[in-house]
């Protein structure tokens, strides 16, 4: 067990492009840290630099206070679960798990003990004599984890371990990994592009974009206090709605109308011209199902599409925006690996709501929870409020 410190880590490839640019992250002993971001953001590269499969261009990588930049992977004593598991196909499950121990030249009695213990933990007892080719995806995943936990590594590294599993299994394995990590209390760094995994597993989550660390915070803080437009758009599903906004006095003007804004938010944003307002889908509601509605915070909307999910429902409300705003929204969506074809509002409504498709509805908006961003820098102007 160990703390991992990354200090101003830079990775430049041959063409000079920085895949990881000046990233500093401290992972405390026993902490579960997630690296998340869209594809190509450098998260996997960073992980591979921790384990030593990738050279570090500049910066310091410290494990347990010791600088490991120049150590070979086998001298770092970390264990890693690869995206495609990388099981040894010519060895049985037992030998796969025993492989690191055999390399460490343990005697066979000790090896047997440890392998059996790992296999018991991961429920692999009945598969020990099988070859990886005959296992299902979830079982292979568990073998890969068995190989990681069988020796006393200083930390676990996971490189998108669940991305090859189907949705149901992914959910199960997610809980399994979380439980295992808590039980073993071992420092873990976990790479994923899936923000649900990031939010549910991590003690802290590092959001990366194009090699640059955007925000390092607890899942709750990321969700409630995103540092910038990118984090706000990346975290949350369905994603946060971004609307062009102007603030005058304590009134905010959105494409649907003008609404009162809390004084502290208004103070920081008033008179700054065109801004970008971010509102999560759940901060809208159908006024018809609410007990006491503040009339000033309602607007009439044309419901285009409605998706009923049982416990809640999503409604889509198209709106017109100026071309430059549209361009920026499109850019944002592209950075977060998603695609928005039209400017529309996604609102999450109570399942009791009776709104109908292609009909008018009266929606309320919770402006207390609104985030306001500077569209040029992307910075969240209302952070901490």
């Amino acid at each position: 067990m160990a703390a991992i410190e990354m200090k101003n880590i830079v990775k430049k490839y041959g063409d000079g492009y920085p895949a990881v640019n000046d990233v500093s992250i401290d992972v405390a002993d026993g902490e579960f840290v997630i690296l998340v971001g869209p594809s190509g953001c450098g998260k996997s590269t960073l992980l591979r630099m921790i384990v030593g499969l990738e050279d570090i261009t500049s910066g310091d990588m410290l494990i347990d206070g010791e600088r490991v930049n120049d150590l070979a992977p086998r001298d770092r004593n970390l264990s890693m679960v690869f995206q495609n598991y990388a099981l040894y196909p010519h060895l049985t499950v037992y030998e796969n798990i025993a492989f690191p121990l055999r390399l460490a030249k343990l005697d066979s009695k000790e090896i047997d003990e440890k392998v059996r213990e790992a296999s018991r933990t991961l429920d692999l007892d009945e598969h020990l004599d099988r070859k990886p080719a005959n296992l299902s995806g979830g079982q292979r995943q568990r073998v890969a984890m068995g190989r990681a936990i069988v020796r006393d590594a200083k930390a676990f590294l996971f490189d998108e371990p669940l991305s090859n599993l189907d949705a149901k299994l992914r959910g199960q394995m997610r809980t399994e990994i979380s439980r295992l990590q808590k039980r073993l209390g071992i420092t873990t760094v976990y790479v994923t592009h899936d923000q649900t995994e990031a939010m549910t597993l991590g003690d802290r989550v590092a959001v990366m974009k194009k090699g640059v660390l955007q925000q390092l915070a607890s899942p709750r803080e990321l969700y409630e206090q995103p540092a910038n437009l990118f984090v706000a758009g990346f975290i949350g599903s369905p994603p946060m709605n971004f609307l062009p906004a102007t603030v005058e006095g304590d009134q905010i003007t959105l494409p649907f109308g003008t609404f009162p804004l809390p004084a502290d938010k208004a103070e920081r944003t008033a008179g700054k011209g065109l801004l970008m307002a971010g509102i999560r889908p759940e901060h809208f509601e159908d006024a018809a199902v609410q007990a006491d509605v503040d009339e000033a915070r309602t607007f009439d909307a044309h419901i285009d599409v409605r998706e009923w999910l049982g416990d809640q429902q999503y409604a889509y409300v198209p709106y017109d925006a100026e071309p430059e705003v549209q361009d920026q929204l499109r850019e944002l969506a592209r950075e977060a690996d998603s695609d928005s074809l039209r400017t529309q509002l996604v609102v999450s409504l109570d399942s009791a709501s009776q709104v109908r498709e292609d009909d008018e509805a009266k929606l309320s908006i919770d402006t207390d929870k609104i985030h306001i961003f500077d569209p040029s820098t992307g910075e969240n102007l209302t952070v901490g409020l």
């Binding site: 384990v51 030593g52 499969l53 070979a72 992977p73 086998r74 004593n77 970390l78 264990s79 890693m80 690869f82 495609n84 598991y85 990388a86 099981l87 040894y88 196909p89 010519h90 492989f99 690191p100 390399l103 460490a104 070859k131 990886p132 080719a133 005959n134 296992l135 995806g137 292979r140 190989r147 020796r151 090859n164």
Partner: protein, 281 residues
């Protein structure tokens, strides 16, 4: 339904035609090897020996009793095994470097290897004969092992590097993270995974060496190093104008047996799809 039966019959007929085409000479050699020398000289056109013309196992007994022949078999097996072993070991290491490492002159190595493979064997016999005499390795095992090795290496390198490229990088990285040195990762993970390729390369090399005649006859002068194909051509008996055809046939059959055994043995080893299940496929 009718089409199904038709195509099945067609396949069967085709297979039989090909088998007859390929195996008729072999069958004829075997038939010849069981006829007595007199029967062959007098003309024995049937496939099975005519009555009184059969020799039973006598030809084989004679062949095996012959010292020259025994020595030739021993030479062939020894030379071919050593050449194969060396060639496969060198090719495995080279192919691994070619497939995995970036180094200057990689293209050069590959191209040179290919050029060597394309070189006509006959054109090298003269120079080699001269060189080997000067170096004192004419008519020795090593004098045959070297050319066999150099001519089979290119093919072995190309075959094996294709196999190595198929093995996912992650295998090796996983081994390194698990605590293996580069050499351990190579020996314990990569080589076992490339086993089908290694066996393929070994068989090809062995075939080439075993079947070679040109080097065998030009670079040897006595039974010290003469391999079977060359020895068979010296197997003329007492009368040079009346070759012992049935004895030769028996010798040819004996020379073929090791190759057949080898193929049957290694066929089980050459199993494609060994890597299935290593990674999500």
């Amino acid at each position: 339904m009718r089409n199904d039966t038709l195509s099945r019959i067609g396949t069967a007929v085709g297979l039989i035609l090909i088998l007859v085409w390929c195996l008729l000479p072999v069958a004829w050699i075997i038939s010849l090897s069981f006829k007595s020398q007199e029967a062959v000289t007098n003309g024995s056109p049937g496939f099975f020996p005519s009555s009184g013309g059969g020799a039973g196992w006598q030809n084989y007994v004679d062949v095996v009793k012959d010292d020259q022949f025994r020595q030739a078999i021993f030479n062939s097996i020894g030379i071919c095994l050593i050449a194969t072993l060396l060639s496969v070991v060198i090719a495995t290491l080279t192919a691994y470097a070619v497939a995995r490492l970036e180094f200057k002159g990689k293209k050069f190595v590959l191209t040179t290897a290919l050029v060597i493979a394309m070189f006509p064997v006959v054109s090298l016999v003269g120079p080699l004969f001269d060189m080997w005499r000067t170096l004192g390795i004419y008519d020795t095992w090593i004098g045959l092992i070297i050319p066999y090795m150099s001519f089979t290496l290119p093919l072995a390198i190309w075959t094996l590097s294709a196999f190595f490229r198929e093995i996912p990088w992650e295998m090796e990285q996983a081994a390194q993270v698990d605590g293996a040195t580069a050499w351990q990762a190579f020996r314990r993970v990569i080589v076992p995974l490339a086993a089908p390729g290694v066996f393929t390369a070994a068989i090809l090399t062995f075939f080439f060496a075993w079947n070679d005649f040109v080097f065998g006859i030009s670079l040897t002068s006595t039974e010290r190093a003469r391999p079977i194909p060359a020895a068979l051509s010296f197997f003329v008996g007492d009368d040079p104008f009346n070759r012992p055809a049935s004895l030769l046939a028996a010798g040819a059959v004996v020379a073929t047996v090791p190759i057949v055994l080898l193929v049957l043995f290694f066929q089980r080893k050459i199993v494609a799809g060994l890597t299935a299940g290593a990674v999500k496929g």
